[in-house]
Symmetry: none
Subunit: 356 residues, 2 copies
């Protein structure tokens, strides 16, 4: 198992070989997920539970806030299974949850949950109603107080309907976004997404500053994470953004903040790690999103797929249903620089499904 280099060079990731990692899971709910058929990241009507269940499964291999593992109507299991498989094969030194607006807390003990006094953001068609500047500053402050317990940090997310808010974020900041953002569906509900984004953007106008705009169209994870990235710049600590086009959107926000407020980013301290399913997705283009940045960024994609599996639910990943989330792409890259094999991850992931 290895990884491919989509942008930049292998040196960043190679320098982390053999080192320990902290895994931060940013869990957040945007009520945009309540729009029917927009996202398949969870159980219809209960998508707000997805980040809670993902956190529980990655941390303790149990879904405590619901009877069954979150599966989509077609039965695509959450990528939390992959992240958990990696964690079992080569444990992250630390897993911590950032509560960026969950409806309920995961039922876990002994794991750190960072609280920021946040509630779920609203449906962006009605205006997300986020105090974006204050939230951004919370991300900054958290980074400045962050005491790494390992050699580097992986920042992952679980935000149902997050690709829609990510695309709206890119668009409101003036970046090209059409056909660039992915979907949890193989057949992305493009018309619906477009409608949601346009309706969302109609609440904003050009006289608004960045944070006013983001407060209407974005989500808590994106805004907080942009602050976290910039706050971490004051330290030498290395950060892997774990995700697909949502994390790319975080970087667009960073870029816009830097352009507006001044300042520079030493992007050699950060990289984005994603899955093969995102890297090869014909309906989105993470590379093109990142090429709009004014700074260079290393983009890696794991070469893992489920070609060794005969499990139909897992094979759906290779067919384009579900592609990324819960940091599974970065977890797979982490596995590959720690000597874990494709066979091991396939078997471990399968074992979770067979035991149900």
């Amino acid at each position: 198992m290895s990884y491919s280099i989509i942008l930049g060079k292998q040196d960043f990731l190679e320098s982390l070989r053999g080192k320990t990692a902290s895994f931060l899971l940013a869990g957040s709910v945007t009520k945009t997920c309540e729009i029917p058929n927009l996202s398949q990241a969870g159980i219809p009507g209960k998508l707000h539970l997805t980040p809670v269940l993902d956190a529980e499964f990655v941390m303790v291999k149990q879904v405590r806030s619901l009877e069954n593992i979150a599966t989509t109507p077609k039965g695509v299991p959450t990528p939390a299974l992959i992240t958990r498989a990696v964690h079992e094969l080569k444990g992250f030194k630390e897993i911590e949850l950032l509560n960026l607006g969950l409806e309920t807390l995961p039922k876990i003990e002994h794991f750190t949950v960072h609280e920021f006094g946040l509630t779920p953001s609203e449906d962006i068609t009605k205006g997300a109603n986020i105090e974006a500047l204050s939230l951004f500053e919370k991300g900054l402050a958290f980074a400045q107080e962050y005491v790494p317990k390992s050699d580097y940090t992986i920042l992952a997310e679980s935000v149902p309907a997050g690709t829609t808010t990510a695309a709206a974020t890119a668009k409101v900041l003036g970046y090209k976004s059409e056909n660039y953002f992915s979907s949890s569906y193989k057949n992305s509900p493009n018309e619906l997404k477009k409608e949601v984004i346009e309706k969302s953007l109609s609440n904003t106008n050009e006289s608004m500053d960045i944070f006013e705009k983001l407060g209407f169209v974005s989500d808590n994870m994106i805004i907080f994470s942009a602050g976290f990235i910039l706050g971490l710049q004051a330290t030498p600590h290395k950060l892997i953004l774990a995700g697909g086009t949502q994390m790319a959107s975080v970087l667009l926000v960073v870029n816009s903040v830097l352009k507006t407020m001044g300042g520079e980013l030493d992007s050699s301290k950060i990289s984005l790690c994603t899955t093969k399913w995102i890297a090869e997705d014909k309906n989105s283009n993470i590379k093109a999103i990142l090429e709009q940045l004014d700074f260079k960024i290393n983009l890696y994609a794991s070469d893992f797929d489920f070609s060794l599996s005969s499990h139909l639910a897992l094979k759906l990943y290779d067919e384009g249903e579900a592609k990324e989330g819960v940091g599974c792409g970065a977890a797979l890259c982490y596995a590959s620089i720690n000597g874990i094999t494709k066979e091991q991850i396939t078997q471990k992931t399968e074992s979770f499904l067979n035991s149900n």
Copy 2:
């Protein structure tokens, strides 16, 4: 896969089981390598590139300063492949390069390169022209400032023609050296080596002190490393010398310095780890070199060989061509105390050759 104990007891190495290791690669050029047919550690006429290419390959699995992996005329691939295989299977926590006089720097980012203001040393037949005392003190100072990022440190080397300077070093210090030092060739060019060493020693005389003598006949790696070993004595940090007869020569220098300048060595903090190919080499005798020391030293040899491989280029190792270098013996010992199997290393090493 395991290791054998040539001198001492297994306790030193066993105490490191499960611990993390930093890998320091001392890269150096002695222009002695320009003497035709003296060494086969690299591409004829370009042996000065070998340490640079070795560093690149171990760090980022790419040869950037040349098109192809350094192979000898007979096609023996560099032992850097073995070290890299181990690093992929069980990563060293840190890989750092000590620039002990390279002609060009490796093209790498994100990896620490320690600079000491050194240039390649000269051909020893003309006098190496090394400011040996100052260089020794640089090694001492580096050790005193060294902040270990892991539980123990492996000090490896890549110095083409280094066994010749190692033998000259032993001889000028009055140790028995004939037939004790190995060669990168199966059929060592003994007459040529002897000639080079004698010519080199003819530049020295008995009225010279240790460092004056070393300045004529030795190389930067040997002198610096002797200082490093002694400097590290002030700390409880454990050190593995990774190599064959060149590292043995470093210990002879340490021994002579202690005898001349006084002082004691707590050799329970250091050991030497090498390959089976060196331990069983009929044309050299690392054990006999180390038995001349006034202190005891643990000497281990990995039991790895390429008997599981059908790759002809790798089989050459088992036939006596190339035997050690780039810390491969210590890397193999490290692998064996970390549960890595002979099959895994064989397959991983083969995969590098097959992908070229």
